[in-house]
Symmetry: C2
């Protein structure tokens, strides 16, 4: 069906039907001038917005509309996770093009629905507009966090341990495989991590509730770049140990096939949406116990150091070299 | 300066500096993974998002970046006003193109700043991305309204009076003059209303506080279209009296020059951002007194009627005719 036949209000009706009636904390959902919620007085309300634009943040040749919808939710949920928050509500602003069919928009919303169900988000409303392209989707996600549990980028202290959840570099390697036209079947894990990232809100809540991290950020632009934000806002430097970086076997195999160093993906590759966090010495035993007990998959990769040392990588040989933040800059449109 | 030289983080720093440190209700503003606010427990938190896309919602030949920034705030504030709410916070998602200069973005933010200062909004954060175009700006605005004062589209009752603030059709006539290339100097008021609309949040709060409206909506798509939403959600019809529609003398002159009926602009022209509201008979005296006292500029234009009569216009001759909703449909990309 052509989107113009359905029209704006037809599409809104369709979206409204897909998303179940909101919870009791949402007195007014989709369909009025604004939505209304009744937030808790005991918690901070967290807000974030991050867009996916066709041709910039995704390539329609590499991702389906379902995947784009899912990912657009997850990249925003990841920001809530990085504050130690629980995802709660969202709005979606869509810029459609005349090429899009109603079926494609249905697929997009299937992906949005999947992501929002997993993360426990209620849809509050949004906006749909038709443009000359490119297609864009710009969700705003709200979360909640008990006041004393909120974690910023600014709380790290010298000597704190530096930890990361999951593995690093997978998504960037997955995208590189797609871009190089390499057969991706043996690397399904990497491509899946690029197309359908899993935001770590469960891990973020668990860590926040246990009051473990002194600072936290999600890895969207790449370890070197995102750690750079923590260093800047905490007024510190850091030393990373190369042989402690969590690299998946898929990443190692893919890097071998592409003739590149897997460390490059782990250090500078974006879109892993893992959590990077600093942990005071007094809390490391508690965290290591949680890791041993299988409550959370995380690993120590280094430590916070004085500002003057900058960001350094300690190689297995024992030699240490300075590394520059090499993540993605959206305006410079490429690696910094 | 070229935007790519400044970079994403340079631009964010620049924006952060422009907007003053947020109030005590904003524990965490721009610059972390998410912003944090502490909303009141006694009020509903209202949320809305509405985009302006270049070539769809504005033409760079007709509006400056300063005007686009200002308008992007006002169209969202207008949605908060329509709920009876006070504007409080906002986030901005920007899609920039490589053509844009830092000066243009500064102008855009000057307009955003002007609008947000007037409306009393604190900037919480946002997102900037570079795309192949068109430029878009997608604010999310939050407001607050005491629980018992929130006004939806669904509360109108048969027999309620129908009122509108300000004058109708000015913005659409202003745009028509620009599009036809007619000398706009004699019609500065109309063009200003198109370029820099004033959202009626003061009027919305005043009406809500006095518990006057049974239903309310802002006029973004046009009287016939927006009234249609109220009729649908309240399960009613309505009768409008043509000779009671508030037409400015500028609109009458412009319509004369363009050889069109000013009523067409008033009935079907969008972007006036006035408030349309229904008032129970028991409240009309109070409202009429407020109007007489100069507290609010509003006028009765008709009444809510049974659903079966649909939307009718009573002409000065006494004849009544059915009118179709003729407002803007963003996906159909034109008049319905």
């Amino acid at each position: 069906m052509d989107l113009r036949q359905l029209g704006e209000f037809g599409l809104i009706d369709r979206i409204q039907k897909r998303f179940p009636p909101p919870a009791s904390t949402v007195p007014l959902g989709i369909g009025d001038d604004a939505a209304a919620i009744l937030p808790s007085a005991k918690q901070y309300l967290l807000l974030t917005t991050d867009s996916l634009i066709e041709g910039v943040h995704f390539d329609p040749a590499f991702s389906t509309f379902r995947e784009v919808g899912y990912k657009s939710v997850m990249v925003n949920v990841s920001d809530i996770a990085a504050m130690g928050g629980a995802p709660r509500f969202f709005l979606i602003s869509l810029g459609l093009t005349r090429r899009q069919t109603v079926e494609e928009i249905d697929h997009l919303y299937q992906g949005i629905e999947k992501g929002s169900r997993e993360a426990g988000l209620d849809l509050l409303g949004g906006n749909v507009a038709f443009s000359t392209g490119p297609f864009f989707i710009s969700p705003t996600v709200l979360g909640e966090v008990p006041k004393k549990e909120m974690i910023t980028r600014a709380g790290a202290r010298e000597g704190d341990g530096l930890y990361v959840t999951g593995t690093l570099g997978d998504a960037a390697a997955g995208l590189a495989l797609l871009q190089k036209g390499i057969e991706t079947k043996p690397f399904a894990r990497l491509v899946r991590r690029y197309r359908s990232p899993q935001a770590r809100w469960r891990e973020g809540r668990l860590l926040a509730k246990a009051r473990i991290p002194s600072a936290m950020i999600d890895l969207s632009d790449g370890l070197s770049s995102d750690l750079g934000h923590v260093l800047k806002q905490s007024g510190l430097g850091a030393e990373i140990e190369a042989d402690r970086l969590p690299l998946s076997s898929s990443l190692r195999r893919a890097a071998l096939q592409m003739g590149t160093d897997p460390l490059e993906y782990a250090l500078h590759g974006g879109e892993d949406y893992e959590l990077l966090f600093s942990v005071p010495e007094s809390k490391t035993r508690k965290l290591e116990k949680m890791i041993e007990d299988g409550l959370i998959a995380a690993r120590r990769i280094g430590r916070m150091a004085p500002r003057r040392i900058g960001l350094r990588l300690k190689e297995p040989s024992g030699r240490s070299r300075s590394i520059a933040s090499g993540g993605w800059d959206h305006l410079k449109r490429g690696r910094k």
